[in-house]
Amino acid sequence: MVERRPWLDVFTHIVLLLSAVALLVPVWLALVAATQDVAGVNSVPIHWLPGGHLADNLAEAWRRGGFATRFTTSLIVAVGVTVGKIVLAMLAAFAIVFFSWRARVLVFWAIFITLMLPLEVRIVPTYAVAANALAPFQAILDATGLTGLIETVSGIHVALQWRLLNSYPGLILPLIATATGTFLYRQFFLTIPEELVEAAKMDGAGALRFLWDVLVPLSRTTMAALATIMFVYAWNQYLWPLLVTTEPERSTVMVELSRMVPRGDGLPEWNIVMAGALLAMLPPLAVVVLMQRWFVRGLVQTEK
């Protein structure tokens, strides 16, 4: 449908412009604030034009936040989560689309329902598991009386313990399960013609061979789209890293950034905080810019 009404054109453009302004003004303010000194950033009315202290502020933020190690931690976590999500989503969708087994529909809906259960909702049980990843097994052993049995027989008290707090697995694993990714992959796999699957069977390729030789190369654009979304998601995680990293040395960029926010009667150095925020924005920005072309293609899927 193509509308040919000039006033509608004007209206849509106004809406678009307003939205763009609403999105860009905070970023601009952050940029401006990062270029001021302490006096400039706290002056009333606020400055709308950049000052000359950008480099100083960036260096100070980098030093004060210990960003060299924070960035490493955050990058490892974000890349780990992204890779983990892609692998898990691809394998889950592969099982759901290409194999017929009894519980297939049930499992699919179970995954689907987890869309309604983000990490924030299940944060307490997730933390309990992270504190001791083997706790559920211990509970099963206790409930079935096996713990007591083993203790009476061998004299060994079974107390399973695997702490994930302050570790990379603890930061990464709880964020890996992804209904969105599984969904995106499922949609892509459903577009693969049945004949292609059968041709691979006739050619002697097993399931994993088919996955590796055919599905992985064909899903490169889907993978890029998913990677972009998930990298940004993982990089921006705040609540979970805050909970699971009790030692400051282990915290991520986002957690560190929140610690830099001046509290109480401290010096209100918002210029440093904003410089830190600018630094924290760079990696996601780079990923989006680099992946943009692939990203759009992966979501639109015109290339077949």
Binding site: L196, E198, D203, G204, D213, V214, P217
Partner: protein, 371 residues
């Protein structure tokens, strides 16, 4: 020896039977065509031979060995799909070489075999291209190449020509036949196109509703259809089928309008029958009919006529002597060319062959509705 044997092979989906108790022995080295309307189970049958569908009941033997439980790759079959099913991200060379790569053949040998095949299929200049950059006919050849590369004993084709345009289809048909003769392997092709079936087959199998209706050489099946279904399905334009009645004497037929036809010899059946005659066998004679429509086929014309009793007949007529619409013409139904079928079961009723000398008009007489 039969290359492929099916004994009581069935396929059921829940309570739905797609293929019912098919017994077939497909001769070694033959070009077998399975023909049938869509939904008759012909593709399911082929896919069971390939191993892409599980066999619900019965036994499949290839080269004498039971195949029911074997994986597709272990059956010695290669398949060409309707939509070619080429891997879109691989080049032509990679596509053809893929079965060898999976089988763990070394790179140098793979390249040698791909090059050899590409030369035979005239694909050499296209080896570096992707399937998306090829025409339909070229893709078809790549698909055939991928099937050939493992040197299978059996080639399975699932409607391979139906996505090509008419001219290319005829060309590829010839190419398939030539290829078959050169390779000497058994080929099984599934199609709903009767022309394709007639021209390609050494051995024709006609299927309907999950059952084999008839099999034999295309000539046999065309000349002596075993059932009403085969009679109506094979041949374009279709065979004329007229309701008629065998009178008590057993050698006289009465058509719906009362016209009497003498059969060359008595048949055992009495009462209602279906009388069949092919359009090309209707001759000029004394049976009155009115021309309702004339279709120009180029080489000849197809005349749609109606007999006084309301029975419709189509017949071929030379293009330069075509009757006009509404014209009264005289027809003859030569007894030697008649087919009789039981209208209830559809089974062909045996009708003795008659010597050519008797094939004249005295085999038939026309009266008005009296006896």
């Amino acid at each position: 020896m039969a290359a492929i044997e099916l004994a009581g092979v069935s396929k059921t989906y829940g309570t739905n039977a797609a293929v019912r108790e098919v017994d077939l022995a497909l001769p070694e080295g033959a070009f077998v065509v399975i023909l049938g309307p869509s939904g008759c189970g012909k593709s399911t049958l082929l896919r069971m031979v390939a191993g892409l569908e599980a066999i619900s009941a019965g036994e499949l033997r290839i080269g004498g060995a039971r195949m029911n439980e074997r994986e597709p790759k272990d059956r010695g079959c290669a398949m060409v799909f309707q939509n070619y099913a080429l891997y879109p991200h691989m080049s032509v060379a990679e596509n053809i070489g893929y079965p060898l790569k999976v089988a763990g053949v070394s790179r140098t040998e793979r390249q040698a075999r791909v090059a050899e095949l590409a030369a035979a299929l005239e694909l050499t200049p296209l080896l570096a291209r992707r399937p998306g950059q090829l025409s339909g006919g070229q893709r078809q050849r790549v698909a055939i190449g991928r099937a050939m590369v493992r040197r299978p004993k059996v080639f399975l084709y699932d409607e391979p020509l139906s996505n090509l345009d008419a001219k290319l289809r005829v060309q590829m048909r010839l190419e398939l036949r030539r290829l078959h003769e050169r390779l000497g392997a058994t080929s099984v092709l599934v199609t709903h196109d009767q022309q394709e079936a007639m021209t390609l087959a050494d051995h024709l199998v006609v299927m309907n509703a999950g059952r084999v209706e008839q099999q034999g050489t295309p000539r046999e099946v065309y000349a002596r259809p075993a059932s009403l279904f085969v009679a109506g399905f094979l041949g374009a334009p279709a065979m004329n089928l007229l309701p008629a009645e065998v009178l008590a004497s057993g050698d006289t037929l009465r058509l719906a309008d009362g016209t009497l036809l003498r059969l060359p010899e008595a048949v055992g059946h009495r009462g209602a029958v279906m009388l069949g005659i092919r359009p090309e066998h209707v001759e000029a004679g004394r049976l009155p009919a009115t021309v309702e429509m004339v279709e120009d086929l180029g080489a000849s014309v197809l005349v749609h006529a109606r007999m006084p009793g309301g029975a419709a007949l189509t017949l071929h007529s030379p293009a330069d002597a075509a009757p006009a619409r509404g014209e009264e013409i005289g027809l003859d139904l030569p007894p030697a060319r008649l087919h009789l079928f039981d209208p209830a079961s559809g089974v062909r009723l045996p009708l003795g062959r008659i010597p050519a000398s008797q094939r004249a008009e005295d085999g038939l007489f026309v009266t008005s509705a009296s006896l």
